[in-house]
């Protein structure tokens, strides 16, 4: 979709720190990781000269349909259940090292983010996903391992 640099270009670039971040660039990074939302920058939201940028950024981050809490969408028509993402997902490996982490059937379904059901990947327990929660980080495990781009974060 976009990157932090492009977002930065649309911000006020005053580094006023009202968002709680040390700079506009830091705010852009927080936007990308979904730690903060566009409303968290008061000047952007309130000052009319930024209206256009604000709307554009909001558009980029509006929660889309079908998205789960982390913004994860599975394109079920594309996914063919190869399980690459299931086996590569770091919390899956940590929570079930000898099951999915070793390429096998899950043994700890209640704590797995991704599993394959009826030949299509299913996302659940999103609290475990690294893109979720307080210490969230940008994880690409399931994206780079998918041969058909069936997983997307919005």
């Amino acid at each position: 979709m976009t990157n932090a640099m492009e977002l930065y270009q649309m911000l006020p670039k005053t580094n006023c720190k009202k968002c709680g971040k040390t700079s506009c660039m830091a705010f852009a990074v927080s936007l990308m990781s979904r730690e903060l939302t566009p409303e968290d920058c008061p000047p952007l939201k309130e000052e009319s000269k930024y209206r256009e940028s604000y709307e554009k950024i909001c558009e980029l981050f509006k929660p889309s349909e079908g998205a789960t809490e982390t913004g994860l969408i599975v394109h079920e028509d594309l996914c063919f259940g190869c399980g690459n993402c299931v086996v590569a997902c770091p919390p899956n490996v940590a929570n079930d090292p000898y099951g999915v982490g070793s390429g096998k059937a899950p043994t700890n379904v209640n704590r797995l983010v991704l599993t394959v059901e009826d030949g299509v990947v299913k996302a659940q327990n999103l609290g475990e996903c690294r893109r979720f929660g307080k210490n969230k980080i940008l994880c690409y495990g399931c994206i780079v391992t998918c041969p058909v781009e069936a997983i997307e974060f919005v």
Partner: protein, 414 residues
């Protein structure tokens, strides 16, 4: 609670960790299998069918007619069996002996030579568990497992943790694709995708051997020498390397000699294994069973207790030369898969089709016997692509007879 796992017979990977929810012999949900496997397992059918000249008959009639075709033929062809159990394959070999038949399977025009070389100990090989536990350099050559064996990378070859590979694929494994097109597997391999022109495999092997020996790698299609040297360096560093050889590689070679040469050099510089990317779930089993019985993996002709072997006994050559005068085809659809110029000769001889699915071949057959889906409705054992034996039980019960049961009855009647 101990989980009840089933084996998927959707491809040569024979995944053995599938959970199934079923009710009244209908499969409702399948866990962990890929889409191909799910489609295979949910391929539920209605009534059983026994057709003679496209008219419904009972089982006894169909069996009797089939036996009489085989009895009256001088040189029947028995073909297929890639999706049949070991037990069925062994029966088919016995039946071929009894009826003086020509016996062949699809391996004669795909991976047969490679499996033969492995059975004759001409190439170093390993199991898929070894790959998971130890492999650090994995080459997919003329193979696209992401399409043909969807769980290959996740269950064995690239992503899983193994006993000696605990840090994960990013750090501990290098996956390489050598292919004529950017396949789904090649995409996963990223920078380690080496795209070569169609038919360019032999030259690429020679260039790679040169690079491994410290010489300048040259190809007529001007593959950047730097890239080949880079590849050679990775291969030299392999502690446990494996080449997954697919049809793309085999079709491009005149014979296996370049593969032998490459494997020899690779094993002088490093440690490399080769595993054939067998497609049908038990094609390798057919090769092994026939090899145990006759010393050949395919293309044989039985004649009064002796075995003849040669290219003229392949399905393609024997149909081309019209040397066979009837055909028993088990779990295969040569009318769709063989070139029309060859398969059209099947229309001139009586054909018995034994298949869980209606196919073009079954539609044109004199006799069609609709059997249980092997591995889903009937159990048995099979050989995985890497040579590992796998036994399985049926997932659901069925009214359809297994191909094993049918062959037994035909055998008694001839």
């Amino acid at each position: 609670m101990e989980k009840n796992y089933y084996v998927c017979t959707g491809c040569g990977l024979l995944c053995d960790d599938i959970e199934v929810e079923s009710e009244k012999n209908i499969i409702n949900k399948v866990y962990t299998a890929c889409r191909v496997g799910v489609a295979h397992m949910k391929n539920a059918k209605g009534e059983t069918n026994f057709l003679v000249d496209n008219k419904p008959v009972d089982e006894a009639t169909a069996v009797r007619e089939a036996a009489s075709i085989l009895k009256n033929a001088k040189n029947p062809l028995i073909f297929g069996l890639g999706t049949s159990t070991d037990e069925t394959q062994k029966l088919a070999i016995e039946l071929a002996k009894k009826t003086n038949a020509t016996l062949d399977d699809t391996s004669s025009f795909c991976l047969g030579p490679l499996v033969e070389a492995l059975l004759q100990d001409k190439l170093k090989t390993c199991t898929l568990e070894d790959v998971r536990n130890k492999a650090d350099v994995i080459i997919f050559w003329g193979a696209d497992p992401s399409d043909s064996h969807p769980r290959h990378l996740s269950k064995h070859s690239y992503f899983p943790r193994g006993s000696e590979k605990q840090k994960g694929w990013e750090e501990e494994r290098t996956a390489i694709a050598i292919d004529v097109r950017k396949s789904h597997t090649a995409k996963i391999c990223g920078n380690y995708f080496f795209q070569i022109p169609p038919g360019g495999d032999t030259e690429f092997i020679d260039a790679l051997i040169a690079a491994l020996s410290g010489k300048l790698p040259k190809t007529s299609y001007k593959y950047p020498p730097k890239k080949i040297l880079e590849l050679a360096n990775i291969l030299k560093g392999a502690k446990f390397g494996v080449i997954f050889a697919g049809l793309g590689l085999i079709y491009s070679l005149e014979d296996l000699e370049p593969v032998f040469r490459l494997m020899k050099v690779l094993n002088e510089k490093a440690n490399f294994h080769l595993v054939p990317m067998v497609g049908h779930y038990n094609m390798r089993g057919f090769n092994e069973n026939l090899f145990a019985e006759t010393g050949y993996v395919n293309r044989v002709k039985f004649e009064d207790g002796i075995v003849k072997h040669g290219p003229e006994y392949s399905v393609v050559e024997s149909l081309k030369a019209k040397t066979v005068d009837a055909a028993l085809i088990i779990g295969s659809d040569p009318l769709s898969s063989l070139p029309r110029s060859v398969s059209k000769n099947l229309l001139e001889i009586p054909v018995i089709s034994i298949d869980p699915c209606e196919t073009l071949t079954s539609k044109h057959a004199k006799i069609y016997i609709n059997t249980a889906v092997s591995g889903v409705e009937a159990g048995g054992s099979a050989t995985r692509m890497d040579g590992t034996k796998v036994s399985f039980k049926p997932v659901v019960e069925t009214v359809h007879p297994s191909d094993e049961a049918i062959l037994k009855k035909i055998m008694e009647a001839v």
